[in-house]
Symmetry: C2
Subunit: 187 residues, 2 copies
């Protein structure tokens, strides 16, 4: 059932603007981190996002807040791709397409490595977040592909995530292809 | 043409004994390094080999000499498996069997990692030795499998060696299986 928000229009607009700013900052941080590393100047990120440095600091007081936002946004967007692919491709192809989509996440994560491996306790929850979001995303595609006879049964999804990350991290897209192909049932 | 050695029998026996000792020491070093790490006491290696510590030091004055001997022996034995497998299995199976055999080498190499990554210039030539021996070993099996229509063409052998090492290093034999399976042409 559709219900009108009880918040006044002006307030809703402010909130929408704030959300847009926030999204722009996270997007800009991802781009700048990828290009210049996770120690890139905050003013570069603010300028790329088209917001003031004050706005950036209000949303993300610590650099670790930005790193966490980039990481979780990348996880979320990768997880969201799973149902979208399942809806538009045969099960085996959806599985393969998602695993290739996942290599984009691996590249983003790799760009954050210096921060993520710094030992900062702010990042302690990220591995669990990764596993809880991407494990089920892959499992749903994999189970459907197995059920359709398009993937070999008995493979552990988390192990596949680790292996593809390993190969993608080594800069071997062709090797990711081999692994994904080995996962599929060819006819 | 067969020719009798001009060395007297006694000298030949001494040389054969020396070679046997040397082989026993390298074998013992491999076992002890795998169990206790590359900093294991020399006397443990000598005792395992059944030789005196003096004999061990005469053959291998530095610990790096032992590490190099274990590494090159492991490379040589892995390379030697290639023609043996090619002679006894269909090309695709020989390729797959050799890649699994190669994961044994990866495990040995992993046990030597602390030494190999120490920056000691004594180890500088080992990566080239690895590549020159195992690259052609894999290429010969891979080319035969492609020629027989049992492996997909266009894959770079050194990339496969790197990828399998990566996956085996991560402790994922099932993931090595997937990659090898992706390399083979299923019918």
């Amino acid at each position: 059932m559709f219900r009108f928000s009880r918040r006044p229009v002006a307030e809703r607009r402010v909130r929408a603007d704030a959300q847009r700013n926030l999204d722009a900052v996270v997007q800009a941080a991802r781009t700048v981190f990828a290009a210049e590393g996770v120690d890139a100047p905050v003013r570069t990120i603010a300028a790329t996002a088209g917001v003031g440095v004050g706005t950036l600091y209000r949303h993300f007081p610590q650099r670790s807040d930005l790193v966490i936002a980039v990481f979780t946004q990348a996880v979320d967007s990768c997880a969201a791709a799973a149902p979208a692919l399942a809806a538009s491709l045969p099960p085996g192809e959806a599985l393969a397409a998602w695993l290739h989509r996942y290599t984009e996440f691996v590249a983003t994560k790799r760009g954050l490595a210096a921060a993520l491996h710094s030992g900062d306790p702010a990042f302690a929850a990220l591995p669990a977040y990764f596993e809880e979001r991407l494990g089920p995303a892959l499992s749903s595609l994999y189970d459907a592909a197995v059920a359709a006879g398009e993937a070999r049964p008995g493979v552990a999804p988390m192990e596949v995530l680790g292996a593809v990350a390993n190969l993608a991290h080594g800069g071997s897209p062709a090797m990711v292809d081999l692994l994904v192909d080995g996962l599929l049932t060819r006819t």
